[in-house]
């Protein structure tokens, strides 16, 4: 049943409801076929009492978690967003505060590891924001207004020793040399000049 599998994949990935037309265009089959397969899928999930359900609303399908588990999911979100921050999370938040707006790749390089999951958690808690530059399509993280207010600040510049610390050049130096090394690594065969 590759058709059902394709619909499943798309509904899973898209957090939003998807119209029959959109699904048909992407999978390149007729709308009737999508409608039929989608309805079968919804019924299957319902009968199997899966933790995921496919619901149909007007001419749109959506994948959601089972309503029976609503309480469990609330607890999970509570768990993810309460309590103190781990040291890696705190460090990431601090870098964003003193050096924001900052791109993800620079954050990763400063910390030396991929920060995706940490950033996601900080976003979830409403501590940081992601803004995109419309022209260049680049995205940058900065601390949220809520977080500043929570710290009792009007502006990041009011953070202790902001001017001195935000302008310390060890980070710039490190980002600079790092770039050379990483580029030469990807550039196969090229003998490193340094």
């Amino acid at each position: 049943m590759p058709l059902k599998s394709k619909i499943e994949s798309l509904l899973f990935i898209s957090a939003k409801p998807m119209s029959i037309k959109q699904l048909a265009d992407l999978i390149k089959v007729s709308e009737e076929d999508i409608k039929k397969a989608g309805e079968e899928l919804a019924e299957q999930y319902q009968q199997n009492k899966n933790g995921i359900q496919v619901i149909k609303n007007a001419s749109k399908f959506q994948m959601v978690s089972a309503s029976d588990n609503a309480k469990l999911i609330q607890e999970f979100l509570q768990d993810e967003t309460s309590g103190e921050l781990s040291r890696p999370s705190l460090e990431t938040l601090t870098i964003i505060a003193y050096r924001g707006p900052i791109s993800k790749i620079d954050l990763d390089r400063i910390r030396g590891v991929n920060c995706s999951l940490i950033l996601r958690n900080l976003l979830l808690r409403g501590l940081i924001e992601l803004k995109s530059d419309k022209q260049t399509d680049d995205s940058f993280y900065s601390v949220s207004f809520d977080f500043l207010r929570f710290l009792g600040l009007n502006d990041v510049k009011e953070l202790p020793e902001f001017a001195k610390l935000s302008e310390d050049n060890s980070i710039d130096k490190m980002l600079g040399t790092d770039e050379e090394k990483i580029i030469s690594e990807e550039d196969t065969g090229e003998v490193n000049k340094n």
């Binding site: 938040l93 202790p160 020793e161 610390l165 003998v191």
Partner: protein, 236 residues
């Protein structure tokens, strides 16, 4: 030699390429056979100074294996070390083959994707804000300072340049040049411009080599006395 090493490929990679080029299996015999080519390669190519040591260690082992192949009764105690090199290379080769298989899987581009993070889909009330209750600005300042300390480059180590050493070949050439000009000269004259111990040893070895080749005759009257180097070439 038309073998090229990618950056970040080490001595094992080089050995494997040399063996594969000859279509040989990994054995002591094939290692002995590639020893010269290996040495030739590291001589002729630019190798990162920090990697040179790794390449040289393997070169020494290869030369040991080669001399063992020629003179089997020598070096019985080095047996284990030679076998270790062979084992390491075999294991490395298995991983190279596994890499090729993984590359094929990657080529199929059968990526799996997680759901994208979507705050609104996760939290019905998108305005909810859950700060870490006890966090203070001073904590953040401290964490950032720690980070800066960690990132500050370590003090540069003092650099020491290796002195240029003169090879025996070069020294032989110098002696030949000198002997063209006069019939005999002393060993001390040969050392006129040097006080370096290695240089003295190289000069002595070069002199002995020339004697062996019947280019010169050596003469020493007393123990520790002056050594005289005489030309054996018949003057034309």
């Amino acid at each position: 030699m038309n073998i090229k090493l990618e950056q970040f490929e080490g001595p094992l990679g080089l050995m494997l390429k040399l063996i594969e080029k000859e279509e040989m299996d990994i054995t002591q015999i094939s290692l002995a056979k590639i020893a010269d080519e290996y040495v030739e390669y590291i001589r002729a190519n630019v190798i990162q100074p920090e990697e040179m040591a790794d390449f040289l260690v393997v070169a020494a082992k290869l030369l040991l294996i080669k001399s063992k192949a020629l003179l089997p009764y020598l070096y019985p105690e080095e047996e284990a070390e030679m076998e270790e090199l062979e084992q390491r290379l075999k294991m490395y080769k298995e991983f190279i083959e596994a890499t090729k298989r993984i590359e094929k899987i990657l080529d199929k581009k059968k990526f799996m994707f997680p759901r994208e993070f979507n705050r609104k889909a996760m939290i019905a009330n998108a305005n909810s804000f859950t700060p870490p209750k006890t966090l203070k600005t001073e904590d953040m300042c401290m964490v950032f300072k720690d980070l800066l300390t960690r990132l500050r480059p370590a003090e540069k180590l003092a650099e020491k340049r290796l002195e240029k050493k003169i090879s025996i070949e070069e020294k032989i050439f110098t002696i030949k040049e000198m002997i063209l000009k006069r019939i005999k000269f002393s060993f001390n004259q040969l050392l006129e411009n040097t006080s370096n111990k290695t240089d003295i040893i190289v000069s002595f070895l070069a002199t002995l080599e020339l004697m062996r080749q019947r280019e010169v005759r050596l003469e020493q009257e007393d123990l520790f006395g002056e050594i005289w180097i005489h030309s054996l070439r018949i003057k034309e």
